[in-house]
């Protein structure tokens, strides 16, 4: 089944670039014979380019030329141009790109309203063409940031569009949320305006915070340089850096940070691409992790973050991988799931891990976690046989947990700080289609969402009365 990613905006495209690089490498490691198989077809088309330009798709047999199934959208040219000049240039063709020159000026309204209406037809046409080449389109991925103008505004416009054009196809969104020290002043506006769209039109959202990615990358570097790991650590783990070069501490290691998000997407789709004893498809993820339509924000964590030289790890180390998945400093947003309330939890394991390892760890960790009363055993599990490149096993945990609440509350607070003073509003309001009500509706939507999480939190630790069963006349 095909997953179709849309990279929108600078952040989206930078992450996207890492993603396709890693995907190619992952498949190359598994697919030694160079045969175009079912797994490859989730992300890539196989095209005969000998006939010049865009030849017909080849569905079986040897790999000719792989083209990523994707749409790259940016209202500036810088990032997309870089991709087209880099090692991935043959993986994309011009029909998958939608670019402009002037950017969105960090303005959600420019991205959503202005460029949205301007490029709507273009996007729909390219979307349809891309979808035509997929014999089974299972889900869309939107990769974007929330704080800017293009990713945030145009990205959520695309989200709406996808719902209109392909209502049956699941919409997953990977959203990078701005931190408090974000240098874009209007990022709270952009984020909250985008949140309303995510609330209403996304099936699943995976929020990411740069702060968390930054801490994780630092942690890895620390462990490598301290030699604490004892055995030799492979430098070319795909989590840390594509080039293998260490970044200085002063520069923000965006490449490494983007790699983490790219790995998230790779792991999320691994069980749909590769075989295993208990497969987990993307539509199973939204089915099991979204008990009520609006509560679709999933906190993610990836473990282990480094490779070890010895591949035959005894169970003890395996168990550590599970423990880490629930620790606060492995989450991809600033959140602590252990001390909040779980509505549902998914564990997708890759590599040489069997069902007994999974069960043992669930039994072990369960007592320290709080689950909502109507879902005490709310675990969804998957076992994929193929580990990520450079690892013998890995774990992706997805939690529908009230620990997302603080992120949203902070966002709301930052929004209100600006909004009360009507700071910068005029930049938005003079865009055709924007009105004050857009803002009030957006903050209202966010407040309602926070309230839903509050209500759930209120049930935590409370007395548990199971509803009485149906009585049958004997």
């Amino acid at each position: 089944p095909v997953s179709l990613p849309f990279a929108v905006g600078q952040c989206g495209n930078q992450v996207g670039c890492r993603f396709w690089d890693l995907a190619l490498r992952e498949h190359a490691a598994v697919n030694k014979k160079g045969i175009y198989d079912e797994a490859l077809s989730s992300f890539f088309r196989n095209v005969d380019t000998r006939s010049g330009g865009d030849g017909p798709d080849i569905y079986k047999g040897k790999i000719c030329s792989l083209k990523a199934r994707a749409l790259l959208i940016d209202m500036e040219e810088g990032v997309v141009n870089e991709i087209l000049q880099g090692p991935l240039r043959d993986v994309f063709d011009s029909k998958q790109l939608i670019t402009d020159v002037s950017g969105s000026g960090n303005n959600w309204a420019v991205g959503h309203m202005l460029y949205g209406s301007q490029y709507r037809e273009n996007i729909v046409e390219k979307l349809r063409k891309t979808a035509e080449h997929c014999d089974c389109l299972q889900c869309f991925f939107i990769i974007h940031s929330m704080g800017g103008g293009t990713g945030s505004g145009l990205g959520t416009f695309v989200l709406n569009l996808l719902e209109d054009e392909f209502p049956e196809v699941h919409r997953f969104v990977t959203s990078v949320y701005p931190s408090g020290e974000d240098d874009v002043i209007t990022s709270p506006y952009n984020s909250v305006l985008a949140m309303k769209e995510l609330n209403e039109h996304a099936d699943c959202v995976l929020p990411i915070e740069n702060e968390s990615l930054f801490h994780i990358v630092n942690k890895i570097h620390q462990m490598i340089s301290s030699g604490k790991l004892g055995s030799t650590v492979k430098q070319n783990s795909l989590v840390t850096s594509s080039a293998g070069s260490a970044k200085t501490a002063q520069e923000k290691p965006f490449d490494a940070m983007n790699n983490i998000v790219a790995n998230l997407l790779l792991n999320l789709t691994s069980s749909a691409r590769f075989e295993g004893s208990l497969n987990m498809d993307l539509n199973e993820i939204s089915m099991n992790l979204v008990p009520f339509p609006r509560l679709h924000y999933l906190v993610s964590s990836l473990t282990p973050l480094y490779t070890l030289a010895d591949v035959n790890v005894p169970s003890r180390r395996l168990d550590q991988m599970f423990s880490d998945a629930f620790s606060r400093d492995h989450q991809l947003i600033q959140a602590d799931p252990k001390h909040s309330l779980y509505l549902a939890c998914a564990l997708l394991v890759r590599g040489n891990v069997q069902v007994s390892d999974l069960r043992r760890n669930i039994e072990r960790l369960k007592p320290s976690l709080h689950f909502v009363s109507w879902n005490q055993e709310g675990w969804k599990t998957g076992l994929c046989s193929v580990p990520p490149v450079g690892h013998s096993h890995s774990l992706l945990a997805l939690a529908n947990n009230t620990c997302v609440k603080p992120t949203f509350i902070e966002l709301k607070d930052r929004f209100m700080k600006l909004y009360k003073k009507k700071a910068h509003l005029h930049h938005y309001l003079h865009i055709d289609g924007m009105e004050q009500s857009c803002f009030s509706e957006a903050i209202s939507s966010l407040s309602d969402l926070i309230e839903e999480y509050n209500e759930l939190d209120a049930t935590k630790g409370g007395p548990r009365t199971d509803p009485s069963r149906l009585k049958i006349a004997v």
Binding site: L278, N288, S356, R359, V474
Partner: protein, 453 residues
């Protein structure tokens, strides 16, 4: 008579493959411990039931493989072919690409009707290949979306298309601590629907088989493959040829019919559990000897005390004296749950089966009062040893074995239903709250019936 197996979903296909493997390896094994003539009879009877011959000489399983995603079927087909001993028919499978998303409603209301014709055509083809059709054996899990939802739909279609054929559903119950979060919803919907179209449900619980793997088979890192192989062994011990009292000097030719006749006297009671003894790692077999009296004694106590396997049996439980309705523990005199049976079937394979005393199973105090004791208990035998076990005994039981597990599943599902969690995922495909209520009602009825045995 031949049985057509329908493998549904990932679980159904993975298990089906292990079942045909187990059956084939048993037939080709040299451990039969019987005469050449006996062995040939056994082999021929087995072949008739499960395989048909092709020009190549490699037996072809009488099976239809159905899944809504392609990976498992493709693996299953190639693994079987690689064995060299048997294979599946290249045409007898149907799959789609997108899966059912663990959504029973998707399997039942969307995939079902959409693919009914293609699937039933495949089944029809297999049925026509049989000289005489002995019925259908479907394998599915009830936790996911395809096996459960599409499986329920296909079972209904089988019943409609073959109104007089026997249908036995082999249903896998998931681990209690979730494999799938909505597994209890899917289970309730599956069981209530199967109850309407199926003749009997033969159940295996993952938790139980897992314990067998851990404690009896001594497997350290248990995989689903290990679990499936134990299940396949247990199924093989039931479905490999035997002599029934009626079949006389020939291996019985109607296993499904015989099973239904002996175990399902009333349509309200269709839940069958399976116990098999002994179970041990293959490399310990050579060093172990068993006596029939010992095996029978353990098997009987497993039945009475509701034991999941031959270790940890509660020997304090005794059947209530005839006439009294309150069973009590011999020592402590407090009421203990005693497993009342409607009907039981014991299957004995291997050395000296002719001399085994099964009187303890005919004890009327084990059974409800509505059947004559001689109708409530049956034994099938064969001197031909099964799967390297010198002696092997299986119990297929229509009793209260599954009462507590069923009650647990319904309870958890009801608890979730009260909060309306996940319901929107089902209504999207046309399964409404009323449909859920109907299913709950049907199962509470089954629970009530089994409770008041």
């Amino acid at each position: 008579m031949s049985i057509v197996t329908v493998q549904l979903g990932q679980c159904g296909n993975q298990i089906g493959h292990e079942v045909f493997n187990a059956i084939c390896s048993d037939v080709h094994g040299t451990h039969g411990l019987c005469s050449k003539k006996e062995n040939e009879s056994y082999r021929d009877a087995c072949k008739e039931r499960f395989f048909c011959e092709e020009e190549s000489g490699v037996p072809v399983a009488r099976a239809v493989l159905v899944d809504m995603e392609p990976k498992v079927i493709s693996q299953t087909l190639s693994m079987a072919a690689r064995s060299g001993y048997w294979k599946y028919n290249d045409q007898s499978h149907f799959c789609q690409k997108q899966g059912s998303g663990n959504n029973w409603a998707n399997g039942y209301s969307a995939h079902g009707p959409r693919h009914k014709e293609v699937i039933m055509n495949l089944v029809q083809k297999e049925a026509e290949k049989c000289d005489r059709l002995g019925g259908f054996f479907t394998i599915m899990s009830m936790a996911g979306g395809t096996g459960s939802g599409l499986g329920a739909f296909v079972t209904q279609c089988l019943r409609d298309a073959f109104p007089t054929s026997f249908i036995l559903n082999h249903v896998i119950w998931p681990y209690g601590t979730g494999e799938v979060i909505v597994q209890n919803y899917n289970s309730v919907l599956t069981l209530s629907h199967l109850y309407q179209s199926s003749d009997a449900l033969l159940v295996h619980e993952n938790d139980v088989i897992h314990k067998i793997c851990a404690q009896l088979m001594n497997i350290k890192q248990i995989s689903f493959r290990d679990v499936n192989q134990v299940i396949a062994h247990q199924l093989g011990s039931v479905f490999q040829p035997t002599y029934t009292a009626e079949s006389g000097l020939h291996y019985s030719r109607n296993p499904l019919g015989d099973l239904m006749e002996t175990l399902v006297p009333h349509p309200e009671f269709k839940m069958l559990a399976l116990r098999n003894i002994p179970q041990m790692p293959e490399n310990s077999l050579a060093y172990s000897t068993f006596s029939w009296p010992g095996l029978i004694k353990h098997l009987r106590q497993m039945l009475i005390a509701n034991a999941k396997m031959e270790e940890g049996i509660d020997w304090q439980v005794r059947p209530p004296p005839l006439g009294s309705s309150i069973p009590s523990s011999h020592l402590t005199n407090k009421p203990v749950h005693f497993n009342t049976s409607i009907a039981n079937l014991v299957i004995l394979r291997g050395k000296d089966t002719h001399s085994v005393d099964l009187g303890s199973f005919r004890d009327p105090s084990l059974y409800t009062s509505w059947l004559n004791p001689q109708d409530a208990f049956h034994a099938w035998k064969t001197p031909r040893a099964f799967n390297k076990y010198e002696k092997s005994a299986s119990l297929v039981s229509n009793s209260q074995f599954l009462l507590k597990p069923l009650d647990n599943v319904v309870g958890k599902a009801w608890n979730m239903f009260a909060s309306k969690a996940y319901i929107h995922q089902y209504t999207k495909f046309g399964i409404e709250e009323e449909d859920f209520l109907d299913s709950f009602t049907a199962l509470e009825q089954v629970i009530s019936s089994y409770t008041t045995l």
